[in-house]
Amino acid sequence: MKIKFWGTRGSLPVAATAGEVRNKIIAALTAAQGRQFADAAAIEAFTDQMPFAVQGSYGGNTACVELTGNAQSGELEHVICDLGSGLRPLGQGKMAEFGPGKPQTYHFFVSHLHWDHLMGLPFFVPIYIPGNRIVMHGCHPNLEAAIRLQMSAPCFPVEFDQIGAKVEFDLLEPGREYTIAGFKVRAKLQLHAGDSYGYRFEQAGKSVVYSTDSEHKLDNRVEQNAFIDFFRGADLVIFDTMYSLADAITVKADWGHSSNIIAVELCQEAGVRSLAMFHHEPIHDDAKLASLYDETRRFEEITRDGRAPLRIISSYDGLTLDL
């Protein structure tokens, strides 16, 4: 199974500022001071060993994650969690790969109906291609209404009914197991304004949980245990780590998000193999996100307590993982 992160930012798309790019260049040139590079390959090798926050960027697109299975049918089917602004580059990638003449099926699993999780759809080119099939899976009875709303005046100039692809809506029942596009899929209700849903995908002995926009109350052990069961033994859990624990349970309590501390604790208890930090706070720059990543790895290390190590990943736009 392959996971590609197309959008990893929470709440609002962001872009690196001129000042942030300048700081990266200054850091790179400072590190290179006095060195000679024989050729382009030597420059690339030097770049690759620099810290990620200097040589790369976490990116700024909102939630969109693609799952590619190993045992799908011959039909070209794509499985995508959420339709944040990361869906725009995903669509461009699919158009470049398949072109307009080869009909595709896109299965979307929608966590919830807030704008940052839907905003990419009007810019997803495959919806304008006749012959393509779009299936919106979700647990919100008003999923179709929300999708239509953002593609109607005055929100957007193209009406939903003008798109060329065939669009279907599939209302899922939380807790029930479905088989969709070769994956076993199960949804779970999460704590978030207007409700959100996490999804557990399983295929060929591998499992991934997509759990974003989910607040975890520390005084609700019953619900914590339900999440531990939902995450149990997963190869990868994609988890909303937007806030610090202090913020999540004080000034930002009831805002519907979680922290790196709770992510690590739940994944440790559930015997998860890898945790992907996700739904990054839009006010954080690359240096701050890299620092949070280091702290989270350290927290996992000092709380491991004899368990197998939990691999910590800080997801970024463009990251691909092979499970």
């Binding site: 624990l245 349970i249 922290s259 501390i261 702290e295 709380t303």
Partner: protein
Amino acid sequence: MQITVSQYVHAATDINVVAPLGRIDQSSAEDFLSALNPMLAQLGPDAPPLVLDFSAVDYIASVGLRALMVAARQAKASGGGIGIAALQPMVREVFSIARFDLVIPCFDSVESAARELCA
């Protein structure tokens, strides 16, 4: 969990010092908060502060940090003072990663906690 309560005298004032022992986690956080409650109830603008001596705490989970948040909130509401003293290095690291040093004041020792909280 084992918790001892003692008094530390600073400037002729008896200050309650609560010293938990071991881990504050899922199995002990509720007991820890219950043990704090009588002393939290005594806090007020004119009452001595409460010092939590963490020198014998070797692990704290998020649920334990929540108990501290509840205690700090209760102390603030009553106008009283509360602080944590003598964190072990690993527990101090957890406080820092969780940003809990911004939720409840931390001090190097019971003595410095008493001095600062009484100032």
